[in-house]
Structure formats: structure tokens, C-alpha cells
Amino acid sequence: VKGPLKVLLGIVTSICGFIEAGSLSTSAQAGAEFGMRLLWAIAIATVCLIFLVEMSGRLALVSKHSLVAAVRERFGFRFQAIPLGAEIVLDTLVLAAEIGGACVALQLVTGISYRWLAIAVGLLVWGLLWRGTFSLIENGVSALGLVTLAFVAATFVLRPDWRAVAGGLIPSVPEASGSLARYSFLAVSILGATISPYLVNFYSSGAIEEHWGEKDLVPNRITAALGMGFGAMISAAALIVAALTLAPRGIRVETFHQAALMLVPPFGSWGVPLFAAALFVGCLGAALEVALNLAYALAQSLGWNWGEDQKPHEDARFSLAYTVVILASSLLIVAGLNPLKLTLFSMALTVVVLPLVVLPFLELMNDPHYVGTYRNGWIGNLVVSVVLVAAALLALVVIPLEVAGGG
């Protein structure tokens, strides 16, 4: 990161790359079913994410290790195998959800079934990774994410009651007792959609790819706080728009077709195409990051050569790793898995495995061997540990209830 322009670019990239299948679908469902009442989940998850992203950048720029490489070195491969296994399963599911989301976005405007489009979208993701560079992935595709600001614009067009919006930031129990399990499940899914493990490792690997140094400590802090903070505002805007347009009409979000109706009241005939564009770009950007992250995690755990800026023949096993996972995820969509349901469950499962990834990370962030004098403060340690452990316990309770409910 060099100069204010680079910092600004990093912030814009973080904001525009924030929305993807998980954050959009969980926000839309929460708004449609519970109005503004789940805004607090986005707020808490965002605070936690800002801490984690700042920490992963700090770890990379002080120790010159990515998160996965540092965990492997500090705890050994036998320990690293547990979070690595969890990450492989989760990233494959999340990648399938993102590829599925991009396919559904195309289906919204073409009518062609998402299952037929999965291989084409998978090839597009693979081609961009095979031919592209890290800055193309990070800046180029994310810049297209400006279209996701449509949700923020829609919020202002719809003129919400700002007192109700502020009220949603305070946790509250829904009136109908039967909906408590669903409310908790959506809260957990929002946490999982916002605090994705792939994002944390991707950020630290990106810092290594871009050769960050200790001089970048302040820009890292600014990028994490403003980029993630304003990015979360787009998720919150999607929730508010769904609360104002879908909830009063009695529409719940069980498919992306229902979610797409949320932009019709503010934008008329532009509504569905705008929603489709936001969903496609968001999912494409996230699919690129998830596929890369899985290759990063495998390469850093197993000691392979890695780097998106290298030619595929220079890091053949790294390139093979993302090729295989993109193919596997595309086939899951071809097989007919419902992208929205897959998204919700992978987001909720994310919360269950988050402590496996994050608790060793916290240990590293308090180890002077890795971060020298730039160790965590007690506030960061406390916020991240309490939120993640509480969310994981809640997830263990609500996921079986949602499965049995037919979710």
C-alpha cells in the first residue's frame, strides 16, 4: 500500500467486494421475515470482522507470514490439519454457493436454468484465475462491485423511518414465540456470512502477495475499519430494503427470484436487472477469492510454491488446487443443489468452524515471536473470542432445528 490513493483503492475494493451470495441472501431473508430487527447481527459481526481483518493484515506485514503459514509453523502440521480440513469442506460449499448465485443471477435475466450455466460460470472463474494477476482479481473485479451500491441508493429512495433502523441495532426477541428458532438461525447465518474465514486468510495472503511492510500498519488499520465498515453498510441496506419492500407484502425469501423483487419498488423496470447485476458481480468476486483462498491454504499448509502473480507452470500444484475445487463446486450446482439453501447452510456451518480457525489465530496475535511489539490489546481478544464462541454454541443449537423445520 503506497500513499493515500492506494489506501482509498483498498477501501473501495473492500466496500465493493463485500456483497456476495451469503451476505445478500441472509440480509434479504432477515429483512423480509423480521423487518429491521436483525440489524444488530450485522453490526456485531462487522465489529468482529474489522478486528480480524486488521489482525490478519498486521500478522502478515510484521511477521511476513500468512495466517495459515504462521499457524502451521507455530502449532505443527498435525494441528493445522484440523482447520485445514474444515476450510476445505467449507470453502468448497461456499464456492458452490457463489457459483450458484452467479448462475441464478444470469437465470433472472435469461430464463435459462442455473444448472445449465454452472459449467460456463466455473470456466469464467477458472479462466480469470489462470490468466489474471492478483491486482486484477482484487481491484478489477471488485470495482465492478460498485453496482452493489444500488442497495444503498434504494434505501434513500424508500426513505425509511430512521428511528426504526436505529432500534434494529439493539438485540430484541421476536413477538411470535414459534419464530425464535428461525430468528436465531438467521442471526447465526448473518454472522457466518459476514465473518468468513476465507476473507481473513485471503487478506493476509494478499498482504504477502503485495509485499506489505511495517510502514503499512496505519493504512492496514484504516482499510480494515473503513472498508469493512462501509461494506457492511451495503448488507445493512439490503436488509432495510427487504424490510421496506418485501415484509409489508408478505413475501419471504426462499429463492433469489423473490429477493429480486425488492429493488422493483424503488427502481421500477431497472430493479430486476440491477439486482441480477449486483448478485452476479458479488458472487463472481467472492468465487474468485474463495477459490484462491483454498489454493493458498493448501499450498501454505503443504509447503507448495504459491502466488497468483506467478505463471501456472511456476506453481503447478497451487493452480491445480483451484482448478479441482472450481470443477467440484460447479458439479455440485450442475447436480441440482439449491444455491440459496446451500448458501444459508454453509454460512451457518461457517460459524461452527470459526473458533477452530480463529482461536489459534488469537494465540499467534499475542505471541511476540510473530508480531513483536504489535501484540493484540485485551479489547480485541475479548470481543473476538466472546462473539465467536457464543455464536458457535448458538449455531450448534439452531442448525438442527432449522434442518428439522425444513429450512
Partner: protein, 134 residues
């Protein structure tokens, strides 16, 4: 030992939850099906009205009608299964069956009697959501 204990605790918690959720009363399940069917009635109503005022692409509307018919058909079969044990489910069957027929008709021709169909869908949605509240 601490790690083994926490793993055993997690597994036990998951088992308890699975057993508890498997014992969910049929009326609770029926309420979920009614809420979903009511939501699809509202989706159909909005889609047909938006299509008439050219606020959504025809290809999107057709796809939504097809999806609604398939989802309502699924809800109908689940309600049929529950109806022997739940009056909440049995009461919903005629309304969901009618909504499914309307979805099929909209798929064939969305331009016929738009006002009448929209009004009927609103009535069916309201009827289903009354029984969906807990």
C-alpha cells in the same frame, strides 16, 4: 483432555437438538408450510401486477410463475402428509391447491383476468397466513 471434553459436549448438544427437533409437533410444521405457501401467493400477486405494469422482464415473470407452481406443489404434498395429524395442515390444503392452479394458469397466460387473479391470491395468502401465526 479439555479438547476431548469440549468435543463430547458439542456432539451431545447436537444429538439433543436433533432428537428435540425430530419431535416437533405436526401443527408447528404445518404452520411453516402455510407461511411458505402464503409467501408464494404474495410473490405471485406482486409478479403478475408488476408484469402488467411492465416493471419486470417477461422472462423473469415466467420463471417466477414456474418456480411458484413447483414450490406450491411441494407444500401441497407436505400438507397432505401432515393433514391426518394436524387440522392446521388439513385446513390449508384447498387454499394451497387453488394457489397452485392459479400459478399454473399464470404460467400458461399471465395476461388473462389480472385483477381477479391478484385479488384471489391476496385472499388466499391472507387465509393461509392467519393459520400460520403461532
Amino acid at each position: 483432555v479439555k479438547r476431548r471434553n469440549s468435543g463430547a459436549f458439542s456432539a451431545a448438544a447436537a444429538c439433543v437438538c436433533l432428537v428435540a427437533s425430530a419431535c416437533r409437533p405436526p401443527d408447528d410444521k404445518a404452520r411453516d408450510q402455510r407461511a411458505s405457501a402464503s409467501s408464494w401467493c404474495a410473490t405471485l400477486r406482486e409478479t403478475v401486477l408488476d408484469l402488467r405494469s411492465r416493471r419486470i422482464p417477461p422472462v423473469f415473470a415466467r420463471d417466477t410463475f414456474r418456480q411458484a407452481r413447483e414450490e406450491l406443489s411441494g407444500e401441497l404434498s407436505r400438507l397432505h402428509k401432515l393433514s391426518a395429524r394436524s387440522t392446521t395442515a388439513a385446513d390449508a390444503v384447498p387454499a394451497v391447491a387453488e394457489a397452485e392452479r392459479i400459478a399454473g394458469a399464470l404460467e400458461s397466460d399471465p395476461t388473462v383476468d389480472v385483477e381477479g387473479r391478484a385479488a384471489r391470491l391476496a385472499a388466499l395468502g391472507a387465509q393461509l397466513s392467519r393459520g400460520a401465526g403461532s
